[in-house]
């Protein structure tokens, strides 16, 4: 075997062409090494439609390319069925399109041997009901969807099988040239510069080909040409849809598994890595697409991304006029032996490009081996036996997906799941990726970025775009000890930043809601920015609120009579509930209307007040900091005394309902709670089970996770805490308990909520106690996920501490958040006691306003419209996530009263380039402008509605995630509004 620093051919570029060349050469017995500067398939091979052309698109303009596509299309279907989804395609002519094009297109297809069968548009509409009703003509063609990631990965796996070597994250630093011959290449890796001797260099660097050629002193005119693509959340078309017109922007829709990819554009750019996406370009593309799919704007966008095509432009043609044909340049013709550049072309013809390149090299090497890449399957079909084993391992419908994604890795994944049945659990619920598959993909990847695993599995590429799987992925890697060189927090951060890049140009509507949820989880709940205090605060066992005494009036709860209430509150989140409780406390009859249960179960259930202000950590009494916030900040508007009274009030109501929230820091400031991400999160009032005093005092702590319970890895938490400077010198030992038998093998993945419910049932607490007391490690404190029951947490926590004889604390865990559910349940009980009438499942659609006075709120349900009236109204409908503020590109409006919300004029200034930036995102603090009485005001400060008050995230002027102030503002403004209404 040849050492890796000497090979016959070095291939530059880990895209489809490079991978194809590697496979081809390796199959012909030529020793080769592929170098890729990033991960495999990081360039245009994954940044295109994923269309396996039938050739029909090029039939008129470029018949040669069309014929080539048609041939290669058939070859790839044969050799790589696991990378291809046989969707077929339609070419759809619209009334707006020039019929002359169709007249020359159809015969051109026939001339190229492309089967384009005319179809009745009515039949096409039946098959694809999302299409516009006014389409004029439809042809059926053999287009298909192809998965670029998968095609490249499987090509590489096949090449490796034949002895090819592959190095990713290896940058080409130089090409050694002497005596008119290539002598080798220099690479720059993470571990320094290496020389690799070789006879041939194949430049398959795609849009980077010009730069690579320059390293050898050659001039190759490759112009990067950027194309924008949009990924949609659901499969609104089952077929590839092409617009039947002269090739232009926004012509092609390709269904891929669960999503649809739509594009593209053609913009010449200077640099191959210029994959910027601008909102205006997205909007232009959507306008084009609406012609064929009139409801396109209603479909949820997942992300926007761009790739740079390598256009070969020796004669200065550009954009759509440049040829899509490939070229192979033997640089021997310009005086350099051993250098070949292969560029231009399309994904569909990558195999042919590789074949021609390998032919050239083999003839140069004097080899007669012929190409077999068109005959041999890319991946050996899994055996019946393996498929049978896999069938019992993968989730419903997930087997086919996993088998196609994994290729040769299938066996590894199956074996992992057979060894540890809990690994059948889904790591990515949106794209059905199991832990077993994830681990198998991790074993195949570079170990440097979660993105590598994402490309191999599709993890994080569905609905939630990583909101739920990123933490799980970090936890899974910690559990198997992979990717150990990366700090977990950084790894998650990098992954989410990469996802953010594709979401950022789409900050409106549903994407913005998902982003607000993401910030709620990673920024507010888990503090992934990693804010840390100078020192840990001193903690006591915890004093029960009140911190201040509020002298509010007597509690004379009165039941509502009739439909005319004193106060109507809209929204069942923390702000709405606080408002309802306060108003009821003041003797008002209160009706609470809610669409949805609010998002307390996405929160920690602790009450934060202010953790970070102006990018700086708030130390000491957080209330002291409130009055010096910006004057538009809700805290500044209502004043710190009211905020303190509100916190006391909510703690008192929760305590009456059986949940005692406590101030743990002896200085009356914030405490920092450990989280499931191994970070610390600042809060003011901690919920029972969460006081970190024991953790702060202990020299050694055991962190206990549960095997097969999602979203918590004791190793991840232990590592995060032991690497935290505040815990220097302390040890954290991870241990793992077994899942209670009762919860094993059910089918649904088990979360902390399932364990908490189990622990609350008869015998559950005993199980936990027994498991924990039989641990082989002794420690001074114990850290757990939030599993100590739901409504019985105080009793279970106390009894466990007594029995174990050491302090026990729970971590803050991601949704479904048990600690949040405890608060929600307690406050609902409190509302019941206070006589608040609650209507579930009602959406308030609009308000009846007369003379700046609200007369009623209109609800619409099942064709029945109703009007609810009260003396005053409190709107606590939330922000983007709660749908209190609805957004469109460049616009935001309060939904019930249609109050326009002032927004930054440029789409790019809605947000920062980095998701976890310490500066505020402008979008985060968009909301309703109010006065000190929480009444909405116009630009001149005039009150818009005299008897309407706003509370919670509907308000402008604060960023709950960056400030770690979400529940505090909700409680304070809800309480204040309830005090006015």
């Amino acid at each position: 075997m040849q050492a890796a620093d000497e090979t016959t051919v070095v291939i530059i570029g880990g895209g489809a062409t490079g991978a194809g060349v590697a496979r081809d050469l390796a199959m012909r017995g030529v020793s080769c090494l592929l170098l890729e500067q990033r991960d495999l398939c990081a360039g245009a091979s994954s940044r295109f439609h994923g269309l396996l052309h039938s050739g029909a698109r090029y039939a008129v303009g470029d018949p040669e390319a069309a014929r080539e596509c048609a041939r290669e299309n058939a070859v790839l279907r044969r050799i790589a069925p696991e990378c291809i989804e046989e969707t077929e395609g339609y070419f759809v002519g619209h009334a707006l399109d020039d019929p002359a094009w169709e007249e020359c297109w159809a015969p051109a297809c026939a001339a190229c041997g492309i089967a384009a069968a005319r179809l009745d548009p009515k039949e096409a509409l039946r098959q694809e009901p999302g299409l516009a009703a006014d389409i004029r003509s439809v042809y059926r063609v053999p287009d298909s969807a192809v998965d670029g990631f998968r095609m490249v990965c499987h090509n590489i796996a096949a090449a490796r099988r034949y002895g090819a070597k592959v190095r990713t994250y290896a940058r080409l630093a130089g090409i050694e040239v002497g005596n008119g011959r290539v002598g080798g290449v220099w690479t720059q890796g993470r571990d320094g510069k290496h020389f690799i001797a070789c006879e041939y260099v194949v430049n398959a660097a795609g849009a980077w080909a010009g730069e690579v050629a320059r390293l050898a002193g050659l001039d190759v005119s490759v112009s990067p040409d950027r194309g924008l693509l949009l990924a949609f959340n659901h499969r609104f078309t089952g077929r590839v849809i092409n617009r039947l017109r002269k090739p232009s922007d926004g012509d092609i829709f390709v269904p891929h598994g669960t999503v649809v990819i739509y594009g593209t554009t053609s913009v010449p750019v200077q640099r191959p890595d210029d994959v910027r996406v601008e909102t205006d370009e997205v909007l232009r593309l959507l306008r084009d697409g609406e012609i064929l799919f009139p409801r396109l704007r209603d479909y949820r966008l997942l992300r926007a991304f761009a790739g740079t095509r390598p256009l070969y432009t020796p004669d200065a043609a550009a954009g759509r006029t440049a040829t899509r044909n490939f070229v192979i340049l033997d640089h021997a013709e310009s005086g350099l032996q051993g250098m070949v550049t292969v560029t231009g072309g399309k994904f569909t013809s990558f195999r042919l490009m590789a074949e021609k390149t390998a032919d050239l090299i083999c003839s140069g090497l004097g080899l007669r081996a012929s190409c077999r890449t068109a005959d041999e399957p890319l991946v050996a079909a899994p055996s019946e036996h393996l498929l049978e084993r896999a069938g019992s391992v993968f989730p419903v419908g997930g087997l086919g997906l996993a088998a196609a994604r994994l290729g040769e890795g299938l066996e590894d994944a199956v074996a992992r799941a057979e060894r540890d049945p809990w690994k059948k659990t889904l790591l990515c619920e949106c794209e059905l990726v199991t832990f077993a598959e994830f681990e198998a993909a991790a074993a195949q990847s570079s170990g440097l970025s979660l993105g590598d695993i994402r490309r191999r599995t599709r993890m994080g590429m569905g609905t939630c775009q990583g909101n739920f799987c990123a933490l799980r992925a970090g936890a899974a890697l910690a559990e198997i000890g992979a990717f150990a060189a990366l700090a977990p927090r950084r790894m998650l951060e990098d992954f989410l930043e990469e996802r953010w890049h594709g979401i950022r140009p789409l900050l409106w509507g549903r994407q913005l809601r998902e982003v607000e949820l993401e910030r709620g989880i990673y920024s507010a709940l888990l503090n992934l920015e990693g804010y840390l205090p100078e020192t840990l605060p001193e903690c006591a066992a915890g004093t029960v609120c009140p911190v201040t005494r509020s002298g509010d009036g007597g509690r004379d709860a009165r039941f509502s009579v009739g439909r005319e209430y004193d106060v109507i509150v809209v929204g069942a989140g923390l702000a709405g509930v606080a408002a309802a409780l306060r108003a009821a406390d003041r003797g008002r009859s209160v009706l609470l209307l809610s669409a949805g249960a609010g998002v307390m179960t996405i929160s920690s259930g602790s009450i934060d007040v202010l953790g970070v202000a102006g990018g700086e950590i708030v130390s000491g009494d957080p209330f002291a900091r409130l009055d010096s916030l910006e004057p538009t900040h809700p805290y500044a508007l209502i004043g710190s005394r009211e905020v303190a009274a509100a916190v006391d009030f909510i703690a008192a109501r929760a305590a009456e309902a059986g949940l005692s929230l406590r101030v743990s820091a002896t200085d009356g400031g914030n405490v920092w709670l450990p989280t499931a991400a191994g970070t610390l999160k600042p809060v003011f009032l901690t919920s029972p089970g969460m006081s970190p005093k024991g953790l702060y005092d202990a020299a050694d702590t055991v962190v206990a996770g549960i095997r097969g319970m999602k979203d918590f890895s004791s190793r991840l938490v232990a590592r995060g805490l032991s690497e935290n400077r505040l815990f220097a010198g302390k040890t954290f030992t991870p241990v793992t308990l077994d899942l209670p038998r009762h919860l094993r093998g059910g089918g649904r993945d088990v979360t902390a909520l399932d364990i908490a419910r189990f622990v609350e049932r008869p015998g559950g607490a005993d199980w936990l106690c027994k498991e924990l007391s039989s641990l082989p490690v002794r420690s001074q404190a114990l850290l757990l996920p939030s599993i100590l029951g739901v409504d019985e947490v105080a009793r279970i926590h106390t009894s466990l501490e007594e029995k174990l004889g050491l302090p026990v604390a729970e971590c803050v865990c991601p949704p479904p958040a048990v600690s949040g559910l405890r608060l929600q349940n307690a406050l609902r009980r409190a509302m019941g006691k206070s006589g608040v009438a609650a209507f579930d499942n009602v959406t308030v659609t609009q308000a009846v306003v007369e003379d700046r006075h609200c007369r009623g709120l209109v609800t619409q349900h099942g064709g029945i419209q109703r009007i609810f009236s009260a003396k005053s109204y409190i709107i606590a409908t939330g922000g983007f996530y709660g749908k209190g503020i609805s957004t469109q590109p460049g616009q935001a409006v309060e939904r019930i009263f249609n109050i326009p919300v002032a927004v930054p004029s440029q789409p790019e200034s809605w947000s920062n380039e980095r998701f976890f930036s310490r500066g505020r995102h402008a979008f985060a603090s968009l909301g309703v402008a109010v006065n000190r009485d929480l009444q909405a005001v116009d630009g001149d400060g005039a009150v818009l509605f005299s008897n309407v008050y706003f509370a919670g995230r509907t308000l402008r002027g604060y960023d709950f995630a960056a400030e770690k102030s979400g529940s505090g503002v909700a409680v304070a403004t809800g309480y204040a509004a309830g005090g006015k209404a």
Binding site: R235, V396, R748
Partner: protein
């Protein structure tokens, strides 16, 4: 698949799973988010084989709790129908699905025969074999005379044409097991000056069929009911149902499940009876100031489907207006029976565990009588607590 109905509103936030009573009771159910919108993306891709969707009880707590307005349970029902399309429907689901038709067929058979036929140990044993758990409560058929009285109700000739007319959609439970509830409601409405008709052309709302995956049979009933409701609406006759589930199904679910029948056929709301009566009480059309108090403590349970209707807790509000009534809103979640869900084998334990929170909470109130708008909930509560349970409007009718 109707293309306007898509999973795009879902953000995968898990709130529905937290509030799902079935998911709380068993890990065999993948949870509403997974079987609903998450798998919907795969169903659009041609994958239909998730058996866990059979565990959904269609209680609609997912829809009620969803912060994004996703009709999660409707996704589940459609998924179940797709799952069942090429499978043999178990006899159990045929029995519960067609229970309305069974009741209709037996409309001339005396109650004691029916009840003996259904509830004797041999029958329970046989029913157990086909999949109806022998421990589960089964409702009892009402006396023949009451069933006939409700079905044959006509407005008194003297008043016909003088007042507004409303139509009663009694629903299967009231028609066959508790016609008294229907008669009580008629009494109240007539007191308020309405002419009440009970149209012969109404069929079962189809919900039990839909829950059994019997989409086609449900669709047939939907079309028939819609036709009738539209016909009545054109005459200005509102439709009222004493059953929250029927009101939900006919008034709202048809639109999502059978859109091709509904789109363009005009709006025709169906009112839940207690909400309707509360409305006329508040308008002053029905005077209840003279109502005598109901003796003893009452515990009120809001049925899940009533909450899904977005009408609040009308039965509770009405009874609270009667001076001297001691009533507490228990607010402790689903009763677990969920129509016929908790009667089925393999679901009985799930139902029992779900209901236990409610039954304990009712016990803690010290109530002597339970009140709930839903017949199935009343059956479940009586079974779980041993306490009698009544429709709030029956209590009101008796108090007036």
């Amino acid at each position: 698949m109707f293309h306007q109905f898509n999973p795009d509103e879902c953000t995968a936030c898990t709130v529905c799973t937290v509030h799902c009573p079935v998911a709380a009771a068993t890990t065999r159910f993948r949870g509403p988010k997974m079987t609903g919108p998450a798998f919907e993306r795969f169903r659009l891709f041609g994958l239909h084989d998730d058996a866990s969707v059979e565990y959904c009880s269609n209680c609609k707590n997912c829809d009620i709790s969803c912060p994004s307005g996703v009709p999660v349970s409707t996704f589940n029902m459609l998924a179940r129908a797709a799952y069942c399309r090429n499978k043999k429907i178990p006899l159990r689901d045929l029995l519960t699905g067609f229970s309305g038709d069974i009741g209709r067929l037996a409309r001339h058979v005396p109650a004691f025969l029916l009840n003996f036929g259904m509830k004797n140990p041999v029958s329970r044993f046989l029913l157990d074999i086909v999949g109806l758990d022998r421990r589960a409560p089964l409702p009892s058929f009402a006396p023949l005379r009451e069933r006939r009285r409700l079905a044959g109700h006509r407005p008194p000739a003297a008043t016909t044409g003088k007042g507004d007319t409303v139509a009663l959609f009694p629903g299967c439970f009231v028609s066959y097991y508790e016609p008294r509830v229907g008669l009580d409601i008629i009494t109240l409405l007539e007191k308020a000056g309405y002419d009440v008709i009970v149209p012969k052309d109404f069929a079962c709302c189809g919900l039990p069929l839909l829950c059994g995956g019997l989409m086609e049979a449900a669709g047939k009933r939907a079309r028939r009911n819609r036709r009738e409701i539209i016909r009545l609406a054109e005459q200005g006759i509102a439709v009222i149902s004493p059953c929250p589930s029927c009101a939900l199904m006919v008034g709202q679910e048809y639109q999502a499940v059978f859109p091709e029948e509904i789109i363009g056929s005009g709006a025709a709301p169906v009112y839940e009876a207690a909400a309707f009566v509360l409305e006329i009480v508040e308008q002053g059309r029905l005077d209840i100031t003279a109502a005598r108090s109901v003796a003893g403590r009452l515990a009120y349970h809001a049925p899940c489907h009533l909450r899904a209707l977005g009408m609040g807790r009308p039965g509770f509000e009405i009874l609270r207006k009667i001076s001297g009534v001691r009533i507490e809103d228990v607010n402790a979640g689903c009763c677990g029976l969920a129509g016929s869900y908790g009667m089925k084998k393999g679901r009985y334990e799930i139902g029992a565990q779900t209901g236990s929170a409610l039954f304990n909470a009712i016990g803690e109130t010290g109530a002597e009588l339970c009140v709930s708008e839903c017949g199935s909930c009343r059956t479940g509560i009586t079974y779980g607590t041993g306490l009698p349970a009544a429709h709030p409007l029956s209590l009101l009718a008796r108090a007036l």
